[in-house]
Symmetry: C2
Subunit: 475 residues, 2 copies
């Protein structure tokens, strides 16, 4: 296979990927909004549509998987689609490809220039809900796989390819982890490929190499058992709001570093090379601050750039706090209680449960002298993930991207985390983020679009990817 051959194949067959009932346009006509119960039937139709396409491409195994109640007895969730195509090569690595076929709601509808479920092509843009997030990015793999087979003359992929496309990503992936655990054996793989992300910008193709993890909690402080008159008692009894202010202010030192004991112990430091690569990205910080964040300044840990702060450094962030009198006018009380919600973004190799223990110790220091301090975590948290720059699978993905884009591939990270973190966690495999979205594709917003030339490049990347990954020795 040559780069030229793949490009040619993808150009020649690109219309089939996009047009008609069996193309992206047909899929985008199905309003598979997972957050709306009235669209549950559409999400099912969307799953069936994809299953039919996977069969048409040649996957010998294609199944629609129901997702269910926590005890698995009755399906209550929305279906995922599973497919598998074993490689003829018995030594081939196993890859599990992740995407989702449900879409975001469309409100506010009046801001759409074309109806969200009537896909419309204008120049190089195809407008429609789900165009890039994530139907387009799932579908380019089908053309990519066909190109891979056609240009290599193979009758099966160079890797054993498993596909899992869920139907609840836009409504919190509530059943996804359970689904992974239930089907852990069938989904087992050497590498996970996630196609649900963007490149840095149109001129800067890139691969995301890591996502921050998360753990979050609510902190409750209890002081006097009744609201006290601040004239009669103020100055002599502990005020839970003042103690909460101390507790929250104490989370950071003057350099913006988190003060919790041991918080940074496991943090993988940024390598000089990665910092250098981040610094070379054409990051428009002014635009990011003033137009994207609608903020009027930046603030964070001393010694790190904005990209480093959001991608590669852990945080403690106060998400909410409340207590005492919050109505109009004034009420001069020493209140009974103070509350705060605090979340911690984590980076490799921090362990959420270890961080939780450290946070408990920190909060316990405020449990004294008339203040009862408790902390409750919302769950086990989400592990951060990171694929080291030198990882052979990442290098393979980089080569595939380079061949398709004809450019140097840059590396980014993501500041948050999605259900993909569960993939790494349950399947204990590295995650490669291979996506071709653009930052201005308006995902989750009116007038979502996919740029058709990016979609074709995605197919070309996919066509190269299986060959490149096949060359990586199984770990």
């Amino acid at each position: 296979m040559t780069n030229d051959a793949i490009e040619q194949y993808c150009r020649e067959h690109f219309d089939e990927l996009v047009a008609g009932e069996n193309g992206l346009v047909g899929w985008l006509q199905i309003p598979s909004i997972s957050a709306s119960p009235e669209h549950a039937g559409d999400v099912r139709r969307s799953a069936e549509w994809l299953a039919a396409r996977l069969r048409a491409v040649g996957f010998p195994t294609v199944e629609v998987w129901e997702t269910g109640s926590l005890d698995g007895s009755t399906p209550e969730g929305l279906p995922a689609v599973f497919a598998e195509w074993p490689s003829d090569d018995a030594d081939a690595p196993v890859v599990t490809l992740y995407g989702h076929h449900d879409v975001q709601p469309v409100d506010p509808l009046e801001l759409w220039k074309t109806p969200p479920f009537e896909p419309t092509i204008v120049g190089d843009d195809l407008f429609g809900r789900g165009a890039i997030d994530d139907k387009g990015q799932v579908l380019f793999h089908l053309l990519g796989l066909q190109a891979h087979l056609a240009t290599t003359g193979r009758t099966s992929p160079a890797v054993t390819l498993k596909v899992i496309v869920e139907g609840e990503e836009e409504s919190g992936s509530v059943h996804f982890r359970r689904l992974l655990e239930d089907h852990r054996d069938r989904l087992a793989c050497d590498v996970v490929v996630v196609s649900d992300t963007s490149v840095f910008d149109r001129d800067t193709p890139s691969i995301c190499t890591g996502m921050r993890g998360l753990t979050d909690c609510q902190i409750d402080l209890h002081g006097p058992d009744v609201d006290l008159h601040s004239g009669s008692f103020g100055g002599a009894v502990p005020n839970p709001l003042a103690v909460m202010a101390d507790l929250l202010a104490g989370l950071h030192d003057a350099d913006g570093r988190v003060t919790i004991d041991g918080f940074y112990d496991r943090v993988v430091m940024l390598s000089d090379r990665e910092r250098e690569l981040f610094a070379k990205l054409p990051f428009n910080e002014h635009g990011w601050v003033h137009e994207t964040a609608l903020s009027r300044g930046t603030r964070g840990e001393a010694g790190y750039s904005t990209l480093e702060r959001i991608w590669a450094r852990p945080t403690a962030e106060v998400n909410g706090m409340w207590g005492g009198y919050t109505g109009p006018g004034h009420k001069t009380i020493v209140p009974t209680d103070a509350h705060a919600k605090v979340s911690f973004r984590l980076v490799a190799d921090q362990e959420p449960l270890e961080v939780q223990e450290a946070v408990k110790d920190y909060v316990a220091r405020y449990d004294r002298d008339g203040i009862t301090a408790t902390v409750t975590f919302s769950g086990p948290g989400v592990r951060p993930c990171l694929t080291p720059l030198g990882h052979p699978a990442l290098q393979a993905a980089t080569r595939a991207m380079e061949k398709a884009f004809g450019k140097e591939i840059r590396y980014t990270r993501e500041g948050g985390s999605g259900p993909e973190a569960d993939l790494a966690d349950v399947l204990t495999a590295p995650v490669l983020f291979v996506g071709v979205g653009l930052p201005d594709d308006r995902i989750h917003a009116p007038n979502e679009r996919v740029v058709l030339s990016q979609l074709r490049l995605g197919a070309q990347v996919a066509a190269h990817l299986w060959s490149e990954l096949a060359e990586v020795k199984r770990t």
Copy 2:
């Protein structure tokens, strides 16, 4: 006049003070609840009742004063009663006596052992709403004045006596300051006597010598113009909640002292004598903390006792704070805004407006790097008041108390302030707190009572007071 004569007079005429239509029992039958619009007529009846009694005692001038809308055009408030009895002695000092004739609501009614407006005597206790707060403490002055005249053989009081008894004290005295300002000339005096307080305890008669002042504000911090995803932005943009925590935590140093520049500059330090007198008070700190405050500990400014902290030291107290996500579950955002309500208790000679300027400077330090910080005060604040222990009027009141109680009189202060602060401020006269309530009279609670023997002692104090004050040279 002799002490014995006054005591004998008060004993002989005590029944007239208490019993029947024209006694305290009759007044307590009028449910003059100022907070309930449906009782407005009762508050008016209560004012007329008192006016009739003042006329019966001999006051040549008795007027019911309407309180009104802010422009004074129409009466919207509840009436106060004014009376004046000039002394025949042209050089006599002028005293304005303050009390209130409205009462607290009675909920929860089911906790009353006797109906709140059916005054009931059990032993030495007279139960009923308003028995001590404040009808009993207003009424003992009438018997006291009669005893004063009878035992001195005078036909007018030894001081020119003015009486102002308001009808809105239990609902915030909303029209009281305006009333004082409108009638500033007619209420002008050398000394204000307030009868609406308690003694330290039954065995420890005392006089309150000062009240803390107050100013309060709302602080608002604004950060990003939209709630931001803490994964994508957290760690790199200013978080208004974290900044608010810094701001509030920074209000105090490690010793519990307020850090605002100049905050203590005008504070009158406690004298060694006053500290010594406070320390000798039979203060049950354990009971105060655990039974009254329902707290589990004390906390405050280093180097001061609990009584010193609540009576004689200024404070900064967070009364409320809120911002970000405060619902169930979690929402990992960097929020747009943070808010807090903060009040400052002030002691002599702090000036509320000066403190406000200092607070504005403090808050302004947080107005930077993407955070807009504003502070709004609810009004001009309330000045603290303090009668120095050596003040001649205070010594006169002390002698009157000593003669009635036959004991050493101790000195206390109050941590808060009521409408009495406006009296000192508008009339620019020192305030004497002459009250005989007991700490366990259950004011504002079910089963409020007045101890009849305390009421008689109050009349005796009043009978002595005008003679003692007449001996104080006019300032």
